[in-house]
Symmetry: C2
Subunit: 594 residues, 2 copies
Amino acid sequence: MSDFVAPLDDIRFALNHVADLEAISKLNGYQHADPATAATVIEEAARFFSEVIAPLNRVGDQQGSVLGTDGRVRTPDGFKDAYEKFVEAGWASCHMPSEWGGGGLPYTVGVVIAEMFKSANLAFSLCPMLTQGAAEAVRAHGSEELKQKYLGKLVSGEWSGTMNLTEPGAGSDLGGVRTKAVPHEDGTYRLFGTKIFITWGDHDLTENTVHMVLARTPDAPAGTKGISMFLVPKFVLDESGDPGERNDYRIVSLEHKLGIHASPTCVVSFGDDGQGAIGYLVGAEMAGMPNMFTMMNAARIGVGMEGLAISERAYQRALAFARQRIQGRPVGASGSGPVAIIEHPDVRRMLLTMKANTETMRALVYYTAQQADLAAHAETGEQRQKSSDRLALLTPIVKGWCTDLGVEMASIGIQVHGGMGYVEETGAAQYLRDVRIAPIYEGTNGIQAMDLVMRKLPIAGGGAVTDLIEEMTATVGEMGDHHDLAAFREELAIAIQGLADTSAWLGQRLASGDIDAALAGATPYLRQFGTVIGGWLMAVSALAAVEGPADFEPGFLADKVNTARFYGEHLLPQANGLIPTIEGGADLLADARF
Amino acid sequence: MSDFVAPLDDIRFALNHVADLEAISKLNGYQHADPATAATVIEEAARFFSEVIAPLNRVGDQQGSVLGTDGRVRTPDGFKDAYEKFVEAGWASCHMPSEWGGGGLPYTVGVVIAEMFKSANLAFSLCPMLTQGAAEAVRAHGSEELKQKYLGKLVSGEWSGTMNLTEPGAGSDLGGVRTKAVPHEDGTYRLFGTKIFITWGDHDLTENTVHMVLARTPDAPAGTKGISMFLVPKFVLDESGDPGERNDYRIVSLEHKLGIHASPTCVVSFGDDGQGAIGYLVGAEMAGMPNMFTMMNAARIGVGMEGLAISERAYQRALAFARQRIQGRPVGASGSGPVAIIEHPDVRRMLLTMKANTETMRALVYYTAQQADLAAHAETGEQRQKSSDRLALLTPIVKGWCTDLGVEMASIGIQVHGGMGYVEETGAAQYLRDVRIAPIYEGTNGIQAMDLVMRKLPIAGGGAVTDLIEEMTATVGEMGDHHDLAAFREELAIAIQGLADTSAWLGQRLASGDIDAALAGATPYLRQFGTVIGGWLMAVSALAAVEGPADFEPGFLADKVNTARFYGEHLLPQANGLIPTIEGGADLLADARF
């Protein structure tokens, strides 16, 4: 029996009434993705992830992936079989373009599939996520030959992919990359160097693994400008395109991590045998960094989603426990004898906090995915540009805000269980251990905050932010007719004003060159931004629910309003408490004596 | 080499200028505890915990305590030897009353010793903490015979103690306790039943272990009123008072926990051999619960302190890493080439947040301990009552607020490390795993919040709260002369007003019998209360520092002001963001459809 059930109604509601899947399905190329078809695909996927993938979550944590003395990584029991089924069913590729062998569904549906996979088994989900990234890199920047040879296999998931970026001296700042790529007379390159933190760097799930490696050609300039991207297969393809000779690199060790134990995090050493690992240039020389950046939105949204996915899973487990655990009686409750702890107001607060934040994150993730689809497929250039700007603006928020919240929600999930939450067998603790990586990788949340302030706030001279604020303000106007939403409306108006103020303040700092002050406030600004957008999307959600759409039953819709109101009236007001620290400047930070 | 160094200057500053140790040392019975003597004791203890106990933190995590096939628990390498040294040096008993063989130091100094132990090795520290609790129980409620036989050994630490409260069906609500205690003709009792979550329930550190067990006599009424307390030794004492025959109970299993692996968390089964475990009544029959409560302040402050202690340790590790890790260059920084990450504003924010919260927790813990000393030893009955009320008020705040913050600070500590923070060898992850228990045990933080609202807010008709608010407001007045503190002062005044408002609102709910609404807001109210008291104590600290006391160097004092200002201007303003949720009532919680 699975202990994860995909929240299909919540998903459908967010798709139909926040992300507007119907509009997406009318875009050029997506016509086959009408909401009904999408719902069918999602239901099938939900069954698969719940029945096949979720039951492997705990064994994955306990056994972990292990590096054998033969230098090969062995995945936990059941992973290989499940992965084969995953590829067979086409879940790896359902939202990849059909011209490359994918299913051609919109990204907005793709994120739903990814969310369910991550809820079911975060560690496992990283393998296809990385593979998709590699496929994107080949698709966007690879030569025709590379595409021909690798793309189909990566899209289908028959082969897996990795991203090889980090080195011991190059983490957040990739300018320090030292791995060398020496041109060979046959037009290929030979790579030498050590990469660390390589997720799913080796395993036994596929017959080949394709590494996308950042490295430096011999005369490349220092810093990020001198970095190129190379494709380095585990097994070099023979003339018929099948995996042939083992390439010259080794898996030196796996990290012992707090969580995601099933995901092998490898130290990879290239060129130990002296000849160097055979690599193929992807894109132009020295274009490695800009080419990386083109994949960054998807990767960051993918990681941001992990906060959502683990919150959902942690919520489901906490809820099940709270329903079944009998303990105490609420003060002043009628009747005698103890009750299920879900009857206690404080437990209800914890559960509703988890539920409201999870729904809010889902709304944000789906909305952002919608913007990605619009950025790629909207009819006019103007529409595409607008969505592209909004996507760029939202990406660091999805990554930073959702992953921070994911950690907090997983921690609340433990708390709901009391002492049982601290016992590993319960499973609640694993979610906290697993999700704790999400604020770190794919650009730490500090990096996301810097990106938001330094790169996204200035988009269109601040227009990307002011456009969004205008749109949010319009929603406040729409709430005016609904008496039930009056308190929420008031809080939302206040919170939006607060965001407008801090955005203007930060903009002024950037304009006057007081970068330190802007950066000092970046992290709480990202938190405020996420909290306020969340409030807006919950307002959108509440407005849709009060309309009483026929595709949902009234009790469900009433609860949507209730949850949205809890977010708006209880959680959203905390956003303005951050204003003083956002606008507090860098002086106290600079003067601190550590 | 130890990686933990007790922050002696910070400790001394908080003792002398927040908790006013000098005044404590003038109390009857504490005259030998003048600040200079206390400083010497603390310095010696600091060396011991840093050199002997801290190096065992990691091995304790890796090996854990293990239950052998012989039914005995084996502690990790080095623990037995270190424990012997701990007892020999007298650290177990330094603040216990001298008439029982203790060192007679004030509790205010005792908490400093405990803080350092917990920073050094949280799992290890639990053994003496539980032992102290057992000693307190015997001292307060035991017969003369029990005192004679057990107290000296418990105070010295030669024997260890445990608290046996929880059962599978009785956690937060002990009314469900089912363990039976059958009177025996010789005046003792025979115990039968199963207890779970028994911290340090068995081990190889001492030659005897003394369990304080809550159980029910045959005709006892249901609920908490029918519970009595029993002393159940591992080895029943022979006629000369030495450990003799093994008592009839077994260690059934140890829990696999998220953290504190060195602390054996036992399932204990009493009376499996049929005769029952021999137990001695402690206090009157049916007085088990009230007698437990007399020990509760100390136990809850002891656990609250764990948030402080782990924050300190996590801060030290994060700081060391941030100084040494070279990565990136702040935007607009002069010079070329990468710098230590401590130069990045966002990293400085994380470090200063950890530092400020740690200092604030320390101020609160020491201040609360001072109130405990005053409650016991102040000259007049009125002074003792006032301090007793304040101690009662602060206890759930110390427990709940400090432990929640401890989890958050440990999580920031991981974040400072980036990817390295997620690797177990780094050590940062262990702090999060270890401290995550603190919001759960010794009364979950939800229970603390209920206690604050239902039992503490009504003390003296609300007078305990209004007295404190008055005193805090007076401090705002004192800040008026200091230009540097103007912004802090303004924030403090606003935050105190917010606390006064929510306190009055909750008081009205209690008065009108709308208990659900009061309980619904309890958890954020505790958070607000802790945040505001923290602001007050940081103001006290800043005012002391600007006076320029001669016992500290000017740079240190300037930094105290800087840290206090960061707390007051950046963190404190978040308190008022909680008002809407505190006063939001229970309606949305009650209507939620889970």
